[in-house]
Symmetry: C2
Subunit: 212 residues, 2 copies
DNA sequence: TAGATTGTTAATCGATTAACAATC
DNA sequence: TAGATTGTTAATCGATTAACAATC
C-alpha cells in the first residue's frame, strides 16, 4: 500500500513482525490461501486493529471480506524486515552462547550469514564450530575490512564487550548485535547497536514470579 | 521509599533494571561509594529523570547532593527483581541453545536454578550437559510435581513448543520462559509466559540495516 | 443486498520527559 | 549560603485502541 513517503515503523511494530511471519508460515501447510486480521487476532491474542495498523507499514493490500493473501503477506513482511537481504556477519566469543548461535541454521533465514568467529582461547583458535572457522581476535579488523562485513555479534563476557565493540566500530562495522549485559559506548554514532537483553526478559519473569 | 501501596513497575522500567545492576556492579571496584543519576545518565545514555523515576519503584533512598549508596542500591534492585529468590526450573530441548543456557553459570545469579533438562533424542537422554541430567520428556510432569518446579524453559523447535507448553501448564508450572518463535496459547491464565524474542531483536537490527 | 472485512482517523492510555519544590 | 541533587507533579509524546467510512 501507500509507501510513497517511507515512514519507518515504530519499534514495537517491528518487534511484532516476526511473530506474524512465524504464525503465517504455520498456515501455509493448511488449506486456506487468505487470512483475516480477525482470525489472526484470535490465534495470536493481539488486537485486530493493531495487526492492521502494523500491516499498514508493509507493502501489501488486503481484500475486503477476505483478508490478506498468506504467501504474499509473508514475502512482504520478510522484505520489510530485510530478511531477504544477506548480511555478512562475524561473531566474537565462541563460548556456549556463541556456539549456539553458530549452530542455529535458522539464522540465515533472517539474512544473517556468520562467515567467521573470533576468540582468544588457544584451544579454540584454529578449530571449527558448526563449520565456522575460529580465528584469533587480533585478525578481526583485517577480516572485517577485507570481506566488507556489516554485522558484528558480541557474545563475550561483559568485561570484554566494550573493547570488542570499539574494535568493531574502528573496523567499519555497521551494526552490532550485543548479547553482553552492558550498555556499549559507541563514540561516532554511525554504528547501530541492538541489545539482545536476555537478562531483561529473564527479569520480567523473575519479577512477575515474585509478585505472584 | 514509599512502598506503602505496592504499585508494580511498568514493564519498560523492569527491563531497564538489569542494565542498572550490571553498571553498578562495575562501579563496585572503583573508589566511589555513592552514585548520582546525573553520572549514571552520562554513562548509560538514559535520561536522569527516567533513572530517578525507575529507582522510585525500588526500596532505596537517595542522599541529596550525593546520590545513592552503590552497594545498597544493587541489593535493592536485585530484591526488586526477585534475583535473590531461588526459582527451581526445568529446561526442555537440550539442543544448542538449551545447552548454552545450562552452561550459563550466571543464570543462578538471577535466581534461576535449572535442576533438570528434558529431551526426546535417545542420544541425549541419560547424559549430562554441564552437570545437568537429561531425562526423557515423558518424565517431565512427574518431576515438576514432585520437586515443585516453578519455571519451565522452552528451547525446542517451534513445531513442538505448544505441546511442551501445554504439558507444563497441566503439570502446574507457574511461569514459562519461551525461546521458540511462536505465541503460546495458555488456556487457563494462571501461567505467566515471557518470550525471549531473539528474532524480534534480530529483526530490529536487520530492519535498521536495510534502511541505512 | 447484507455483512464481513480493510484501512484510516480520532480518542485513549501509558510512558517519557520537563519543570520545579524540597533538601542538605 | 550557594549549588547539586533527589523525588514528585505536570506536560508531552507516542503507541494502542475505539470508532467508522469505504468496499466488495
Amino acid at each position: 500500500m501507500k509507501k510513497d513517503l517511507l515512514i519507518s515503523a515504530p519499534e514495537p511494530t517491528i518487534r511484532r513482525m516476526p511473530t506474524y511471519v512465524h504464525y503465517l508460515k504455520g498456515l501455509e501447510a493448511g488449506p486456506e490461501t487468505f487470512i483475516s486480521t480477525s482470525k489472526m487476532s484470535v490465534d495470536l491474542g493481539f488486537d485486530p486493529t493493531q495487526i492492521r495498523k502494523d500491516l499498514s507499514y508493509v507493502d501489501i493490500v488486503g481484500k475486503n471480506r477476505v483478508g490478506y493473501p498468506i504467501e504474499q503477506l509473508i514475502k512482504a513482511i520478510e522484505d520489510f524486515l530485510g530478511w531477504n537481504i544477506r548480511k555478512d556477519a562475524i561473531l566474537v566469543g565462541a563460548g556456549h552462547l556463541g556456539s549456539a548461535l553458530m549452530g542455529y541454521e535458522r539464522l540465515d533465514q533472517y539474512g544473517i550469514n556468520i562467515v567467521m568467529a573470533f576468540d582468544v582461547q588457544p584451544g579454540k583458535v584454529g578449530e571449527k564450530i558448526h563449520g565456522i572457522e575460529i580465528r584469533h581476535i587480533s585478525k578481526m579488523a583485517e577480516v572485517i575490512k577485507q570481506k566488507n562485513i556489516q554485522v558484528g555479534i558480541i557474545t563475550v563476557p561483559a568485561s570484554q564487550a566494550q573493547a570488542v565493540a570499539s574494535m568493531m566500530e574502528d573496523s567499519g562495522i555497521k551494526a552490532i548485535w550485543n548479547f553482553a549485559p552492558i550498555s556499549l559506548n559507541i563514540s561516532k554514532n554511525n554504528v547501530f547497536v541492538e541489545n539482545a537483553l536476555l537478562y531483561s526478559s529473564l527479569s520480567v519473569l523473575a519479577c512477575k514470579l515474585k509478585n505472584l
